[in-house]
Symmetry: C2
Subunit: 426 residues, 2 copies
Amino acid sequence: MATQESTREALESSVGTLNKGLGAMNSPLQPEQVRQLHWNLLREDLSLPTAVLYQDRLTHNLRWMQEFIAAYGIRLAPHGKTTMAPRLFEMQLESGAWGITVATAHQALVAYTHGVRRVLMANELIGKENIAIAARMLRDPGFEFYCLVDSAAQIEQLGSHFSSQGQHLHVLIELGVMGGRTGVRNDEQLNQVLDALAKWRNAIALDGVEMYEGVLDEEAAIRVFLQRAVSVARRLRDEKRFDRSPFLLSGAGSAWYDVVAEEFSSAGFGDAAEIVLRPGCYLTHDVGSYRKAQQRILEHNSVAQRMHSGLIPALHVWAYVQSIPENEKAIVGMGRRDAAFDSGLPVPALHYRPGDTAPKTAVAHWETTKLMDQHAFLKIAAGDDIKVGDMIGFDICHPCLTFDKWRTLPIVDSNFNVVEVIQTYF
Amino acid sequence: MATQESTREALESSVGTLNKGLGAMNSPLQPEQVRQLHWNLLREDLSLPTAVLYQDRLTHNLRWMQEFIAAYGIRLAPHGKTTMAPRLFEMQLESGAWGITVATAHQALVAYTHGVRRVLMANELIGKENIAIAARMLRDPGFEFYCLVDSAAQIEQLGSHFSSQGQHLHVLIELGVMGGRTGVRNDEQLNQVLDALAKWRNAIALDGVEMYEGVLDEEAAIRVFLQRAVSVARRLRDEKRFDRSPFLLSGAGSAWYDVVAEEFSSAGFGDAAEIVLRPGCYLTHDVGSYRKAQQRILEHNSVAQRMHSGLIPALHVWAYVQSIPENEKAIVGMGRRDAAFDSGLPVPALHYRPGDTAPKTAVAHWETTKLMDQHAFLKIAAGDDIKVGDMIGFDICHPCLTFDKWRTLPIVDSNFNVVEVIQTYF
């Protein structure tokens, strides 16, 4: 039985033979065994399209963000929803992350099952089976779990469940803004939440305050929102509402983490607060909205300026030119099934002709003009040196909606050898 | 060894414990065993969000399309890329489908591995490992595989590979239109393809003509394109270019299959041609562009009119109302990670309050106004009977980009009992 059990577990965690973007496999393998197959992207060992991560760039980005956050004396809980790749969670934790952030009970379960010991679910926990998932994880005394509340109705659900189980749930109050997403808008809603929490103190511990500034897109308004979060945290501290010491104060998506770091670290809470930031897209970065955000940060933030570098795009989707049916149009075998398209289309970055020594930088005027489910339209110029069978490596916009299109992503070294395959759990 | 092997295969095909949208599982189960867990959607046994298929509607749509196609005396090879669910392929084949259509070598491998014996890859086969995947499958004499060619450069790649292996690849010439996607645009390109095929006759068999009319959006232009395909097929037949008898003539996505059926079936080829249509979205249908297409078909097509019914949306994404932070806004726990958003946002269809006997039709003025990665913004009116913890079942637009967000989809009966779980292989 013990052997069957371990066989089962090994197989549940193994890389199956039917994932897109990999090379030939005779049987499922453990992720670390895949290296022994000696796949190389440029040797065309992989079935394209494939999404690959560049090892050196990942490492650079891991270190960059950890160093940035550490300079403010605060904590990093990278948003795991971006990648949903437990192996990447592991790298983030090994680099010094305080915990992993997730968005749903299911994502929390994936992190927990893969050994993450501290999860911040930056979302309201709701619904019978989702609550049951949390309750089952919480039976493990070594697991630390936080989630959000923003209404009395939700707190009633949580309170009645966890109270009946004799369990304690740890929550943060989420603050929101009018026109925004979740979160209490004003003092009236806040007081309703506090009253509901007071009723269920036997089952629900109030451990801090959370907000997501990314629902706003102007720095001035974001700073006002952050200052409101500081002010609410101060009030709750003064009223001794927090059951955790230090209490938690958490904000930050992947675009405004510098501003959040500045505002929260200068709030003067000292050791009374543990400040937790939650960017997720920094790991692979992109050439869309996050590159724009990074440019703003490098222009304005002194900590980032002292670091003499920035984040680097670390993910490419590679695909073949499958047809050049018109002088100014190439069709590439990659589509909405393979890359995000909601905040910019993939951008040609590298061009490789099988047999060549190395990829070249893609011609500057090449442009993705349309993405269908399985195809990309590439605008080229008549006479460009591009052929059917050429490989194009595309930078992407919006990592979250690119990762979720892949169950496995090879990590390649600087020679495009596959050194590892990571798995996602969307 | 035999036992280990069968254990491995059983586990590779089993439903894992970490898929979103399911209920509690202690260990992986075979898809058919999941029924024994007696999950019920309305009893909140599933972790929402979840995407469910309605058994009776699936059955209706399966039969409807098969009957429609049969009325024209032609064949159905449903596009498998829509669902990538081998269990649904099986249902389609059992209902009378001629084969399964796919878009990539990887998708062909998934179909082949799950027992599909006839696959039409309605796309150009390109790249070393993709060709190798096809070559490995073709070693099975019981497997029938067709793919597309549209350039001499691509045919050179295919010819040199399959010739060196002593294998035969069966291809269709793809026709395309200026401004469209892949496919030969004119006689000059067609003749280049024919010349290249003539060179590799020992390795590549020309079995037919293929086109995809969905790159156009006006009926008149589509009919012209279809008539061109008929004319090319007639020329190639007259020139005795086809290696297959009957030759294959294939077209049709999910929006214009009626027009394709009309044009191709009236071309007068008789037994000389096997006409193969490839709609994929009919199985679940939607409330977006395919509903519009269906309305057009029911208005104009006499076969559809005689059938006294149409396709019915058979997939809902269910999610919880997690917050009602403003009088006219509810936030629902479902986002771009859970439903397509590229041709219309999900539409509230059913509203269920846990404990009630049955879901009600969702209030007509409720509207999804925005989708973030994990959240939907629902416009409601002040005073509407909606509460945190309520469940909303959403109709969706674009099945392809909804299916690919789920690894497992429960099939429910009319009482919302989960009778089966189907797995996808994207």
